[in-house]
Amino acid sequence: MGYRISLDNVSYKYPGQNRYSVSEISIKFNPGIVYGLIGSNGAGKTTLLKIIALIYKPNKGKLLYNNSDPWNNVVFYRRSIAYVHEKPIMIRASVYNNLAYPLKIRGISKEEINKRIDRVSRLFGIQDLLGKNAKTLSTGEKQIIGIARALIYDPEVIVLDEPFSNLDYHKRRILLDVIDSQASQGKTIILASHDTLMIEKISSKILVLENGKALCFGPTRQIIEKLYEYSCNS
């Protein structure tokens, strides 16, 4: 079961900056629902996702996972989160070793690693890539490997930054199906994209960010209508 993640007046400022990149966000994310995060470039989507994924610690406000402070046991919580960067980061190694990395650091056995790599590479149709040098893949291939690498440890929370941007039609289809099935398994899912169309298609709730602030939040249909009418207000 995914975690209930709640943010209470959360703000974040990058070191050396004087402006908050995420400012006083309050919101609750529930398991089994796909949340979409939209906003123009620089709105704060990536920063907010990194706060949710326990990569950045908020300077102000409170972040809770099922009513506990995840920062008190941060490695434990991170191990149940999939976070995929918008620009996929590959380890200098084969695709196989990239997929194996999160399992190796958890001390999982070789056989189990092979089993899971087999399963996940079938799911995403990437069997042919396993022996390749990950650094030489196309951006789209890297993106899908990044997602596969984060789902391989069966996380409870799935946080994807611009997951569709580099994917072709076929891979988008696969990813949409995977997200749907993860949601029905009760995972907490948060996606950010500047591609409103994809977000509208996959998410049931949308948060609109602007200048680091929450502009409006609600069911997808309602928010999209408001966006068309330029009447978004929290």
């Binding site: 326990l54 200098r92 650091i105 440890y153």
Partner: protein, 212 residues
Amino acid sequence: MNELTTIILRSIAISGTATLLASAWSIPLAYLLSGSYRLRHIAYLLEALVGIPTVLVGLLLYMLLSNAGPLGFLQLLYTPQAIIIGEALLITPLITAVSYQTLKETRTRYTELALSLGATKQQAARLVITQSLPNLLAAIVMGYSRAIGELGVALIVGGNIKGLTRTITTSIALYTAMGEYENAIMLGMVLVLLTIGISLLVRLVRKRWDIE
């Protein structure tokens, strides 16, 4: 063994030891600096010192190590050890600055990646280092090339003593002064081969690395 061979081997040993020594403190220092916003000025300072003249390092070390100097009691002047120390100091800014650049680039990315995939702090640090290794190796080779090719330190604190501190570069200077150009040119070519050879070797290692 003939004298030229001894000189070549001595040069490799001295510069190699100096490089290892300098790397042993420069790379941890670079890692430390790359993780701190406040310490970045130290990195800028070291960057500025990358091209420090070898004779200047030689002179400063000479003043420290000479009998009247504060470290004179160590009796290190005109020993291979003195050259090792001098060359290690000489290439410290170079190795640190180049390592700092590559670590600063990889550190944020790979730390974030490792943590997001569930790594502990130590596991994340290990990933950063292994991902930077090819570039760190390049930094080390640059340091080695500068050490083996420098003259100022070897001449001033080594003293070009036959059978003890004579290196490739000090020999070249001597042979040239004596008009024995043939030997000078021969050693010069060996020097070029040594620096080119090591960087080719590293290139090969890096290639292997990426495939793994």
